[in-house]
Each structure stands twice: as C-alpha cells, then as structure tokens.
Symmetry: C2
Subunit: 184 residues, 2 copies
Amino acid sequence: MSDRRNKLEDLAQQVVQQNGLKGLSFRTLADEIGIKSSSVHYYFPEKSDLAQALIARYSETIFERLEAIAKNPNTLQKKVLAFIAIFEQVAKDEKLCMCGMMAAEVESLSTANRDALSDFFSGMERWLTSQLVEHAEELSSQLSPTKLAKILISGLEGALLVDRVAGTNQRLKAQKELFLSWLV
Amino acid sequence: MSDRRNKLEDLAQQVVQQNGLKGLSFRTLADEIGIKSSSVHYYFPEKSDLAQALIARYSETIFERLEAIAKNPNTLQKKVLAFIAIFEQVAKDEKLCMCGMMAAEVESLSTANRDALSDFFSGMERWLTSQLVEHAEELSSQLSPTKLAKILISGLEGALLVDRVAGTNQRLKAQKELFLSWLV
DNA sequence: TGTTGTATCTACCTACTGATAGATATATTC
DNA sequence: GAATATATCTATCAGTAGGTAGATACAACA
C-alpha cells in the first residue's frame, strides 16, 4: 500500500466521519494533501471506489481490534467494555462511526458499498454475539445473545449520533450501563 | 400556512428522511412541485430556513402524537409500544427519523438548526422519562427512568439507521423487546 | 385610482462537483 | 537502449448547487 494512497484514505476517513461522504470532495481532499484532484482519481477512479476502500479499511481495523480483544483471556465485562471503548474514542473526537455515517447516506451509495456496510454491521454483531455466548455464565438477561448484540450495537450507533448533536456523552454512558445491567 | 408552502415542506421532509438535507436541492424540489427554484427561495430564503421549518414542523407533529398517547389513560406498556410504533412506521417506508438524519449532517447545519435538533431529542427523552416515572410501578429495571429513556431513544434511532442498510427490521424489533424486558 | 403585499417568473451569477483526456516525468524492467 | 508501469500534472467538461436581481401579474385595500 503506497504512502500516498494511505494518506488519502486517512484524511478521507476523517472527513467522512465528520461530514459524511457527501461532505467529502476530491478537490478538498487533494488540496489538503497537496496534489491535484485528478491525481486522486488515479488511485480511486470513482467516488464509490474510494468509499469501498474506506469501508474495507475501516472494517479491517475494527475487526483486528476485536480479534485482539477476543484472544486476550478476560471476563465478558472487560471484553465488552473494551469494545465500547472503541465507540468512546470516536465520540471524543466528535465523530461518528464511519459506517454509521455512511449508513445515513445509503440511498446514494453503490450496491457494493451497501453490501460492504451491511457486512460490517453483521460482522460486529457476530463478534459480540459470540462473546456473549462464550461467557453465557456471566449473563443474567432473559434476552438471547443475538438480540443483545443487535440492541447494544444499534444502541451505540444511535448514541454517537444523538450525543454529537447534544454535545454530551450521556447516551453513550447510558448504553454502557445498559450492558453492565445484563451481567450477573 | 399556505398550501404551496405546506406541499414544499411535505416533499422536502420526505426527501430529507431518505437522502438527507444534502440530498435535497431547491431545483429538484421546485421541479417536483412544478414551480421554479427561485420561488422556493421566496418561502425559504436560505436552505437553513427550510431546515429550521422542517425541524419545527416535524417536532410539532411528533409531540402532538406523544401528547395524545400520554393523555389517553393506558398502561405503560401500551403507551410506549405506541411510541415505538412511530418509529416502526418510519422504518416501513425505508426512511429515517428526520431529526436522526439531520443529526448525521450536524456539521453543516446552522447553530439554530443544531439547537432545534437538540431540543427535539431532549424533548423526546423528557416525554418518555415522564411516562416511565408516572408508571414506575410497572417498571422492573434497576436503571433510572432518565437513563432508560436515553437508552431506548438512541437505541431506536440507531436501529433505524442500521436496519435500513441491512434491509430488515430486526434491530427495531430487538429494541422493542428490550423495552418489554424492563416491565414487571 | 393608486398603493401595497403576495407569489411567481426569467435570467443570471459564482462556486463547486465528479470525471476525463492527454501530456509529462521518473523509475523499473526486459 | 527501449518499453513499460507508476504517478503526477494541465486543462477542461458538463452538470448542479445555492442564491440574487428585477420584471410581472394579481388581488386586496386605502
């Protein structure tokens, strides 16, 4: 992976997490890097190619971190708090989850983009579900692990969304407490 | 309120709920109504004026419905299920909550728009909190009504977001079951 | 009758968008 | 040395964006 390509993706991701894909232009992206917009097209012929690269990259980064969390022997509580900490980091920078942001723009995305986004969320849910199942003895909720995973992940995505408008982190904290209430 | 203005707002709201404020242009809006874009500027000088009107209108509609739900004597379960049904209706049309959509675009909104959005969410939470407090005897959760309100509302917003990408309503259903699990 | 307010139009502006064509320079490979 | 791949540039295009100026038509009102 070339350095230039990497820097473009770094910057693009940051812009998308703050302003959305529609808030990202090839020109401003190029200007900030110090090249011409046509050179950005060299790496990403169409905007949907850039979006696809961003989703792939974001997914890889997140799932690597999740693997690391899963591999390290620990209680369910500590594992999931480490998972939630990923969202807390995003919130601290007044950003959204990149895929959450793109989810709001799904109507203007290519089908490949949509599928990749959908895979991201189902992958996250699969990971969390497997952790909940693995540590079932630590769980006290009557709801199934699959449902708990869907609840928490969509809850965290929504908390980022609403908290950013309100300029607080109350909803993210509340979602964290929700999770803690599921433990024995 | 003139009929023309109303039709413009109706259509604009629909577009925003599907494509976001950035996905709405004065020209396409005007074309669909059958007037010129400059005539849209007659009603809404700047785009932020249109956004402001949309938020005010959306808030009024929702809060009227919430008042009606609150006024009608009923169990907490039925009241909140009626509340959740508002989100289910939105999901059925493959839309987002209009304010949830705009929340994703908050970086490009005027401060007045932001404040109005923030008021929308805090108003929703206030309503739900007051219902939970009023029917405290029906609640079994250890978490406070305030937190439960924040959890459910951000959860519902996130569920709309993620479900639309996945093309399902699983997360909305899971959030509903979460609420039901809080009842005695 | 004349004035004012409402609602629309035509015509236009500047700025920006994603995207393309084709030239150029450099480095690598055969 | 010639050919190729990589990476950049200049220049440009058609389309769209939000927004404005100024004319027009019409109705209500003084």
